[in-house]
């Protein structure tokens, strides 16, 4: 194809998206669109998968059967989200194996928030309430994104997320209304998860590199700072309601703006964790890679069994 032909196709492509048409897997697309989508969707899938680890830590020690079945179901949902997203990503011509290889080699990123430890049961509450809460704010606009398979996967994901946030907030309510020690535990979890949750919504707009192109392709519909403000404004009253304090001395309602002012985010910490120096980066990758390697014989055995069954069937047919 000549350069001019490609320019032409690109213009038609952008016009389709501007008209709110969806792009499907076999449609022509600019190489950059394909690459950007593989990167964002796989990062998203990896986050769902690695995100199971901090919560998996507490399944066997949940304080009651009710909490245990809920947490188990939530973590199972996250596995499902990872799978929806991996399969949507594979429609762009990358194999599952390549995707795993990118995660396991450290080439691909996942959400930094999962590199923080879960040290008490209250962390299960804080994660559901804050981390899933921030994820929902990030994800809802993606239900209308331009790439059809991604948008459809996100519709399913979003439907399932609201239970995650509720079960987390319910844990926080119970602890906040419990003994002084329990309340303290809830407050401690909020203290530790608040700032990383704000960072989860991404670098400030001034430092965000991909925003303009992503807006055009509807990979993003609101800026990181707008999403963060939305998260803060909806979460602060929820903390007030259960008597917990947001760990930010500069947090103040701004009547004029109709939203909260808040303190400075420690972006150095964010970039440190992104670069691999968070409290649990190594532990998470070891757990993930270890599970994959220890599962190899199972995958091979299943394949050998399937082949044997197939051969038997063919023999009988003769």
């Amino acid at each position: 194809m000549s350069e001019e032909q490609i320019k032409n196709l690109e213009a038609q492509f952008e016009a389709r998206i501007a008209r709110d048409e969806k792009i499907e897997a076999k449609d022509w697309m600019p190489e950059k669109y394909r690459k950007t989508h593989i990167r964002q969707m796989s990062q998203h899938a990896h986050s769902e998968i690695v995100g199971m680890l901090p919560e998996g830590n507490w399944i066997t020690r949940a304080p009651s059967l009710r909490r245990k079945v809920a947490l188990l179901a939530k973590v199972q949902d996250e596995a499902g989200h990872g799978l929806y997203l991996y399969s949507a990503c594979e429609t762009l011509g990358i194999s599952r194996d390549e995707l795993y290889e990118q995660l396991h080699s450290g080439k691909a990123k996942y959400s930094s928030i999962f590199n923080y430890p879960t040290v008490t049961w209250a962390d299960m509450g804080a994660i559901g309430w804050l981390v899933d809460g921030a994820a929902i704010i990030n994800q809802v606009p993606l239900c209308n994104t331009s790439y059809g398979p991604y948008a459809r996967a996100m519709v399913r994901v979003c439907k399932e997320e609201s239970f995650h946030q509720r079960q987390g907030y319910e844990i926080m309510i119970k602890l906040a209304n419990g003994t002084p020690e329990q309340k303290e535990m809830a407050q401690d979890a909020l203290n530790r998860w608040w700032w990383p949750s704000l960072m989860m919504l991404g670098p400030t707009d001034a430092e965000s590199i991909h925003t303009e192109q992503s807006m055009k392709w509807k990979l993003k519909r609101k800026s990181n700072d707008d999403l963060r403000q939305q998260f803060i404004d909806q979460t602060v009253p929820q903390a007030d309601l259960i008597g917990l304090t947001i760990p930010d001395p500069d947090l103040k309602w701004n009547e004029e703006k109709g939203s909260y002012d808040f303190g400075d985010i420690d972006w150095d910490e964010f970039w440190q964790v992104v670069k691999g120096h968070g409290p649990c980066n190594k532990e998470r990758m070891n757990a993930r890679v270890g599970a994959w390697e220890r599962g190899e014989w199972v995958r091979d055995a299943a394949m050998a069994h399937a082949e044997k069954q197939q051969q038997r069937k063919e023999k009988q047919a003769v």
Binding site: A73, D77, G80, S95, A153, E296, R299, D300, A302, H305
Partner: protein, 95 residues
């Protein structure tokens, strides 16, 4: 390193009797039985279905959107396939 990867399967789910099977997504599985079981766990955790079909992705032949012209244009100028093409006197009811 495994020598063979699990193949890819497309999953179709009938959400209730009376409706058609609809494409839900895909997954990897060693064989059809495992694909069905995985499809149940991945796509119907909340009673989304009463019946599941799985088809190995390599067995699907798809049309190419770049040829949508030749493929679908022939239907575009056949207005006589629609009831509005035919002129009837106003007095005719129920037709």
């Amino acid at each position: 390193m495994s020598t063979k990867n699990w193949p890819l399967w497309e999953v179709f789910v009938r959400s209730k009797n009376g409706l058609e099977h609809r494409h839900f997504g895909s997954l990897h599985a060693a064989d059809a039985d495992m694909a069905l079981e995985n499809a149940r766990d991945v796509y119907t955790r909340r009673n989304e279905g009463v019946s599941i079909w799985v088809v190995e992705s390599k067995n699907i032949t798809a049309s190419n959107p770049q040829h949508n012209g030749e493929m679908f244009e022939p239907a575009q100028d056949k207005v006589y396939r629609h009831p509005t093409f035919y002129e009837l006197p106003d007095e005719v009811k129920y037709m």
